[in-house]
Amino acid sequence: MFKKIMVPVDLAHLDVIEPSLKIVADQAKHYDAEVCYVGITAATPGSVARTPEEFTQKLEAFAQERAKVHGQPVSTHTIVSPDPIADLDNDLIEAIDKVGADLVVMPTHPPKHADVIMPSHGGKVATHTKASVFLVRPGASE
């Protein structure tokens, strides 16, 4: 049913995405789908990597780690943005088409009042793409 699952990952905060990664593994096996891990970075040195190339290497290494866990084929896609925080939503929405994903799995926080001015990334992505989106609430996989 789903052929390619896109999974946005924040290499700096792996603990946050841990629950959704388990779900991704299950889904990928269930649908026998390829998993594409997508990361976003600035061109300037950051906490994860000092250059975009280094970031890509780390993302690739991360994807290979995950492949060992779920055994499905993996790929990666690095987005370089001058302002990763502000551009995240739109960059992810563009990436969905670019990598040709038909399912997006990403963690999100429960709805809160601040969403009015700062909508959640997952919510924003879900309302702007044709692909199916699976938003994972904290604690979902426990």
Binding site: A42, T44, I85
Partner: protein, 557 residues
């Protein structure tokens, strides 16, 4: 001493380690440090708001500034004389530091163009530019000058022209006039020449020299050396690993102060001019209430722009700005004294070159009022701006060689300043000299632009565009300034959570309001001068760091 693991010969960083740090792009000389960007940061979610901050830099700078705002607002009467005395002390006693420092930056920036170091490429030998030339220049120019061009485009040439025409006056052996150099009493052509040369001097090579040095250093140490994009990184060749401790914190805190106060000076000028313009055009009362409402309104727009980010917020507004500014410029050239402006561009450039040595002389100046009140203030202001503009320039300059970078950052914006100042200045001077209009000259500084436009066609439209330009420049300064300060106070991270940017934008607005109420423009200018001074010293030391840094880089062909 400084930890320099790649002694002498450049090497591509090896990929064998478990972390595998690859070369930026092609050979470069990454600094081998164990420091991880953001390692000293505090991450928390107070009240459900995520923050990711460099604890010491953020806390120290934000607390001092909050205290400053509160003190200035609560003790208005006590603070104003303090500002005035600090201002006069700094400008009379220490103006030579600014003037000499700015000369060093220009000489170093020009000198580097002709050395083999200019072959180093920002971002590694094989890096390619992220932006085209046109977009690049537009962003440089908008970031570097902005509101100042609107405020001083008409008023500065006109003021110098007036003082130069009046000649020199002496009182007790001290010059009391404000004319540049030896003035040009009664000599109209000489006064025009001198006033334009002095104006271009303030908007030409010197500000861009400071920006170029800061921008280049930040770019090299971030993109080629892999250090975080904050001021402290420039000091790695001097301080080594100690930049991660208090020496580095102090440098970053100074950078935050300089940026904030440089920014609020511009915001103060912008608010004053926008308010004066609104009064002039729509009879809106020109008082503190209007100023405060303007600053608050503009801060709200800036917040919106910050939420949208660099690409959709800052960049789009900058483009709108450049378009409007270009329209206004073309309009003034077309309906103003076109031939006089065209000839003026070349005459003024020549005059600038001729007067440059005398104008930039730090010692033994006879024209104390001019060199202290104008030049030293400008230099302090530009230097206070330099972390902001420099960081911005650094972020968009990856892939350029040092030579390309220096030529573009020094010459192109300087030439654009010449054209802008010539167009607006010549038109205003022409009104005074050839049309006998004196209202422009007699008006307050912030009104002179609108007065000048009144004698050109389509006054209502152009004045309105003028006000819009001031306001939009104001917004772009505020939002991009918040991004820069946020990045410094987040230990060089550009992906820190959004609420921090919002905090800084609000602080800038509050600071501009506090300083305007608590002491008017003098307070703002004093603040810029006071933070500009230590930062000048920091930058002078940084000059050594950049040369060291460049020398350890491989050069592309």
């Amino acid at each position: 001493m400084a930890k320099q693991p790649n002694d002498g010969k450049p090497k591509a960083p090896d990929n064998t380690g478990s972390e595998g740090i690859p070369a930026p792009e092609g050979p470069a000389n990454l600094i081998d440090t164990d420091y991880v960007i953001g390692q000293d940061n505090i991450t928390a979610s107070p009240l459900g708001i995520n923050v990711d901050l460099h604890g010491k830099v953020f806390l120290f700078s934000s607390l001092v500034i909050l205290l400053f705002v509160i003190a200035t607002l609560a003790l208005q009467d006590q603070m104003e004389p303090i500002y005035n005395s600090v201002f006069s002390f700094l400008t009379t006693k220490l103006s030579w530091v600014f003037i000499l420092g700015a000369n060093v930056f220009v000489v170093l920036a020009i000198g580097l163009i002709f050395t083999p170091l200019a072959k180093v490429r920002i971002g590694g030998a094989d890096a390619t530019p992220d932006f085209g030339y046109l977009g690049w220049f537009a962003m440089l120019f908008a970031a570097g000058m902005g509101i100042g061009l609107m405020f001083y485009g008409v008023s500065e040439p006109l003021t110098h022209f007036g003082t130069a025409m009046s000649g020199t006056t002496m009182e007790n052996g001290v010059r009391t006039d404000w004319a540049p150099l030896g003035a040009a009493a009664g000599d109209q052509a000489g006064a025009i020449d001198l006033s334009m040369a002095a104006t271009i001097f303030h908007w030409g090579l010197h500000p861009w020299g400071a920006y170029a040095i800061v921008g280049l250093s930040l770019a090299i140490f971030a993109y080629n050396k892999g250090l975080p994009l904050t001021m402290r990184s420039i000091f790695y060749p001097i301080l080594g690993e100690r930049i991660w401790g208090w020496p580095g914190h102090v440098i970053d805190i100074l950078a935050v102060f300089a940026t904030l106060f440089g920014l609020t000076t511009s915001l103060g000028l912008g608010a004053t001019q926008a308010s004066a313009g609104l009064h002039y055009l729509f009879d809106v009362p020109d008082n503190n209430t209007t100023l405060i409402l303007l600053i608050m309104g503009i801060t709200v727009v800036a917040l919106g722009s910050i939420m949208l980010g660099v690409d959709k917020g800052v960049q789009r507004l900058s483009q709108l700005n450049m378009l409007l500014a270009l329209m206004l410029l073309v309009f003034v050239i077309a309906v103003g004294p076109t031939v006089m402006i065209a000839i003026g561009v070349f005459d003024n450039l020549l005059g600038y070159v001729q007067h440059l040595p005398a104008l930039s002389m730090p010692f033994g100046r006879e024209d104390a009022n001019f060199s202290q009140g104008w030049t030293a203030f400008y230099w302090a202001w530009w230097i206070a701006w330099s972390p902001f503009v420099g960081m911005f320039i650094a972020r968009v300059s990856r892939g350029r060689t040092v030579r390309e970078f220096l030529i573009s950052v020094l010459l192109v914006p300087s030439l654009a300043s010449v054209v802008w100042m010539t167009a607006f200045g010549t038109t205003a001077i022409d009104q005074v000299v050839n049309q006998g209009i004196t209202t422009v000259q007699d008006a307050a500084l912030e009104l002179q632009l609108f007065n000048m436009l009144e004698y050109l066609p389509l006054t209502q439209i152009t004045s309105f565009i003028g006000i819009v330009l001031v306001i939009v420049f104001f917004v772009t300064s505020s939002d991009s300034g918040s991004l820069v300060i946020d990045s410094i106070t987040a230990g060089g991270k550009v992906d820190a959570p959004k609420p921090q940017r919002i905090f800084w934008a609000l602080i800038e607005g509050a600071l501009a309001i506090a300083l305007l109420l608590g002491g008017g423009l003098a307070a703002l200018q004093t603040a810029a001068l006071t933070t500009g001074l230590p930062f000048t010293l920091v930058l002078l030391v940084g000059c050594y760091g950049i040369v060291k840094g460049l020398m350890s880089e491989p050069r592309s062909n």
